[in-house]
Symmetry: C2
């Protein structure tokens, strides 16, 4: 029976298929059983060879999971090697990303064009253009998300499954399941230990994501030894208690039919499924079953012995015989059939539901239009907390533009991200005690007190397809530190996620030093490909959101205040897009004051006070260092004028990085203090009077000590 045939499980959405082409997955597996042995052996030796050639890498896991891979790529997953990005493909996430050779080898065998044999063999080589990095990277064909830092992938997979649920609930109609893909995620023991993985599991169980299958490569080996060194819980019972369907596979090294059955069965569950597959790490090597099989090549002799034991020639490397090639041969053709069937379905859908289909196509293409005019053109003069300004700016957009899905880590009452008529993204079977219910079509996500998974899931939502979903997250700025590894992964993957961070200053007050961010901004300002934006009032908040929404390949973190800020008369949204701009010019100035975010008005106040003392100062607003760095040298010099006069930045954060723009800083090099906001500002000398004294003191010091001009001073 030709491997490229559609079978009934693979036949998407009831498209007619000629009878003779329809076989069950089980029949197909049975009919090909004779080939499994040679394919398994060849695959395992290929992995051993790939690590051996440059004497490094992670062979053990990929070898242990060989049978799982065959079940997935040959029998169960719906994908198209020659249309790797087709919209309704199943998503596969390798959360144990160090086992990347597992995925690379299957991408090669199943016919992904980019993954040539030469490329496959570039693993651990010095090739600059290799597409086989040490962990899978989203840039390369067939990779859905970049993984490696453990626990991230499973959280991304939850996001991918949520994306499907949401799009299906929004766009599918009877007979037209235009979005119906499944998400498959491989994990090792680490994803069951890392907090972000545990958050993801808990959330997926709650949401009843029955379009998600997590396959646990249960080899009981960890870097330090056996898993029972560190984890002896009953994982199946734990998963059941968390709302998951659990399936056991005892012989994960060879039982392709059993694994295939389990995978197919998982698609029919009403819960997410956890398949606990017992495997042997590094099967066939002399270090099989040991930690030594995890992260090092086996050695020339061991690999040769594996080959002998398998009946292969020990001197042949990367041997993939014709039977192996034949086994995978028809998969691009099968993939093309999936694509064609889906396109036919979408074509018919467009005839029956033309408006809906137009909306759908817009989302498929990731088009975003008509949003900028929804943002208020001006604001009242009333002092407004910038977290409230965020709501004023963005909620009209969220209300009308379906691309946005907005989440919060249990801070709905604080972050102001609820638009009129918002509907929750929720498991529709849940009827909550508080009476707030929803469906999968909803676009407001309660993540619980799970900041890390909120951001990691958002990466998955964004990775589903470029621009189809633009996720927004929200929490206190301080708690983005919990989520920093996921924010980083979003920046690394060029995923557009917008993080709405509130309570971003010691002005947040009574919650005290545990909640007052001091050094957080230094991290996010240093993070490549992230826009950290601190707007100073409502107008700048509008600028911040516009910049973030326009930044297609870049996540943003918009950092706002808990407390009310005055509306400043010269702030400009366009100024924000340049990162910094002159807020108050002054031809007689002998000093530049740089103001930022919640304390921008403090800089303006200091300039006024200084004027009363006969010192003329100009004021620069610098909401985003990264955007400013992208401006021309001329613009930057014109804004800062550092060759003409000293500049002082005012921000109650760690000063690290401000030395680039200022000669002195009113800043914080210690943690905050629990006091009401205004008192906290006073306590640390961030009231306008004290700041003014500090600035004049600095100017006096500059007069007295010429060398200070070459140094950065904390005032």
């Amino acid at each position: 029976m030709a491997p490229g045939l559609l079978n009934e499980e693979h036949n998407p959405s009831g498209i007619p298929v000629s009878k003779k082409n329809v076989v069950s997955t089980r029949e197909l597996v049975e009919s090909e059983k004779g080939s499994h042995d040679i394919v398994l052996k060849s695959f395992r030796l290929l992995i051993a060879d790939l690590c051996q050639q440059f004497g490094g890498g992670h062979p053990g896991g990929a070898i242990g999971m060989a049978a799982i891979g065959i079940a997935l790529w040959k029998y169960v997953m719906r994908y198209a090697p020659h249309s790797p990005d087709y919209f309704n493909r199943d998503r596969f996430v390798l959360s144990n990303g160090h086992c990347c050779l597992f995925q690379y080898a299957f991408l090669h065998l199943t016919g992904y064009k980019a993954m040539t044999f030469d490329q496959l063999k570039s693993y651990h080589s010095e090739r600059y253009d290799a597409i086989c990095p040490g962990h899978p990277e989203i840039e390369h064909e067939g990779i859905e998300v970049t993984t490696g830092p453990l626990g991230q992938g499973i959280a991304n997979a939850v996001g991918l499954a949520m994306a499907t649920k949401h799009l299906a609930a929004t766009f599918n109609r009877p007979g037209y399941d235009v979005v119906s893909n499944h998400t498959w995620c491989m994990i090792g023991d680490a994803c069951l230990q890392e907090g972000v993985g545990l958050e993801a599991i808990s959330l997926a169980g709650h949401l009843q994501l029955n379009n998600l299958t997590v396959i646990y490569d249960n080899n009981q080996v960890t870097c330090d030894g056996s898993v029972d060194l560190v984890n002896t819980e009953n994982i199946n019972d734990k998963m059941k208690a968390t709302g998951w369907n659990v399936i056991d596979i005892e012989d994960g090294c060879f039982d392709i039919a059993g694994i295939t059955d389990a995978l197919e069965q998982s698609k029919k569950s009403d819960k997410p499924t956890f398949i606990n597959v017992r495997t042997i790490i590094g099967l066939g090597s002399k270090v099989q079953g040991l930690a030594d099989a995890h992260g090092a090549a086996f050695g020339v002799e061991d690999v040769a012995n594996m080959k002998r034991a398998y009946g292969f020639n020990p001197d042949d490397h990367f041997a993939l015989g014709q039977p192996v090639r034949d086994f995978f041969d028809g998969l691009p053709a099968r993939g093309n059939q999936y694509v064609k069937a889906w396109e036919t379905l979408v074509g018919d859908y467009a005839k029956e539901y033309p408006d809906l289909a137009a909306r759908f196509q817009k989302r498929v293409k990731g088009e975003l239009t008509g949003w900028e005019e929804l943002i208020p053109k001006s604001f009242t003069d009333k002092p407004t907390a910038s977290r409230a300004s965020s709501g004023l700016v963005f909620n009209p957009v969220a209300e009308k533009i379906d691309s946005f899905m907005v989440g919060t880590a249990d801070l709905s009452p604080s972050v102001n991200m609820i638009w009129p008529g918002k509907e929750d993204f929720q498991n529709p079977n849940i009827k909550t005690t508080c009476g707030i219910n929803g469906t999968y079509a909803g676009r407001y996500i309660h993540y619980g007190v799970r900041e890390h998974v909120m951001c990691a899931v958002s990466n998955g939502l964004a990775a589903f397809n470029p621009g189809t979903i633009i996720p927004v997250t929200s929490s206190f700025f301080m708690f983005y530190l919990y989520a920093a590894p996921a924010v980083r992964m979003g920046a690394l993957q060029h995923l557009q996620v917008i993080h709405a961070a509130t309570h971003d200053s010691i002005g947040m007050g009574e919650d005290g030093p545990t909640h007052q961010p001091i050094e957080n901004a230094a991290y996010f300002r240093a993070l490549p490909n992230l826009l950290y934006i601190r707007p100073g009032d409502s107008e700048e908040t509008a600028g911040a959101w516009i910049a973030a929404i326009k930044a297609k390949g870049t996540p943003s973190l918009i950092s706002t205040s808990r407390h009310k800020l005055p509306q400043l008369k010269n702030t400009k949204r366009e100024g924000v897009h340049k990162g910094a701009y002159v807020l108050e010019e002054n031809d007689k100035a002998t000093l530049t004051l740089i103001g930022v975010g919640a304390e921008l008005s403090h800089a303006v106040g200091v300039a006024e006070k200084l004027k009363q003392k006969g010192i003329e100062a100009r004021v620069v607003s610098m909401p985003c260092q990264r955007l400013f760095e992208q401006q021309s040298r001329e613009y930057k010099r014109d804004v800062l004028r550092r060759h003409r006069m000293p500049s002082v930045v005012i921000e109650p954060y760690a000063p690290n990085g401000w030395e680039r723009y200022a000669d002195a800083a009113a800043c914080m090099t210690r943690f905050g203090h629990s006091l009401p906001g205004t008192s906290a500002y006073k306590y640390f000398g961030f009231d306008v009077d004290t700041l003014t004294t500090k600035v004049t003191g600095y100017l006096d010091q500059l007069e007295a000590d010429e060398l200070l001009r070459h140094e950065f001073v904390e005032i």
Copy 2:
């Protein structure tokens, strides 16, 4: 029956107590039942008043947990209000730290001297010297750890319980349980959602910490609404599957006897215990049972109505009648008995085991001696990875000095922190598959792939008693980002924890951009009260460890390379203690090169190449910015000489913060790339030839454009 009496459960270690003074806890509770109603009501109204006076704070949780508090402080916990730091006290951790008034009120009622009635009433006031911040802080009497960021406290509690297990296993002898305290931890729903909390639960179950009781304030309310919005798992089943003893309490608002029984019962379990206590948030308020009761004062009228309903005068505020005062009256005296009994026990122990008792007393006092001479005075000339140098430097200390407990997040083979004869800290009932077993007396901790809880647990180990345990953690530098919130909490609390972070450069190679730190250091350099130290060779690694071990109130992060580094001839351990020092002086220099850590030798190499081109440069090594900042202005000027010549720093990290010390940087403003280490350096221009070209190019630019002297340049 007088409340100050010892009873049998409270009688530590079999010290004889006169018969008439011995009552069971249950008898005591029964005998006082008549008082419970007035105490509960008074406590709840006190909380409502405390929030109402300044119109803010978190009343609901504290009110809901009143009965739990009475069971703990009146009947079960072993503590001494007038000797708050007595060594063998029970430790109480309020992991739901926003409910701090719960703890503050009980500290006041039970007679802690610092917590006067005036101080209690300072909550949310503008008093700079208040000891009632918005979350409990370790600086204040009766507070074991600072909590607030959710999930941290429960992880600290696991660390505190581990400290007890370890010290008990090390020092107790038959009849002499000199360390026998219990750890009690209150949590809300968030600690069951946050990843770090879930990691802590998993670890505690594995380690069978039966001296730990976690009390779940199960009020089913979260900020966004009811908990079932975000979590519908079967928590009891989940805890059981994770190795916990589970006890249910149905009426947590009033059933003091039932709660007391459960708490006492938990001390007899062979597992950690989870007590699931159903409570009603904000009981008695009109918003009882609702999210509105969580984070805002109830309003004047609501509080008045509560008082009326309870039969109190609505115009009386902070009313604590004599019956309430009497109820708590004897607790300082009872505490003094505990202290005296323990001191007697320790005195007798010293007679029977004088050597052991001397060691014990040294640990109790937190004395650390004889360690510095264990550190090698010199090293071979052989190129050595600084991660290996770390082992050479520190393992001899770890071997001999019992104060150190060393943990790893499943990277034992990579981090080189194993000393000869190390014994694991392990649940002695576990016989692992890999055959690596241990006891609670062991000092090497396998944390699993749980970086966040590793660092949070270490805070608990350090907080047990100053200097008794100095925890060391280890992982790749990149993964300290997962643990950053816990590292921050350690710095905030002045806890000495040493983090040994390896693979700290793009030179770590093939694992690629997910594992190559770029912006991490910017965070840790900005974090107040942390020493981030990047040593350049073995000698500097010795300096780094010496600085870290001497930093009693400051955590350190020692950041080392995966790859081999040459041993440089002028490096000095004493130089590290000053943060930066002149490695190669040159009177004819026109340029300062700043080298750091794994790339320090690159700076030395560039200076040599420049010399060949006729450019004289001096080389400064700057392993620690924070320590350098602590030096005198004169020293700093002498090292940097910025007024005399330009300086260029070489570090493949985000440059943020280097602008303070350098005019230009060879740095990274993008993510890394998966390549072998040497190739990665080349790919990004961090080989000596390319660096030299970049430096000369910069000098040319400086000549051509005078304004550049006022600007920081990335080269």
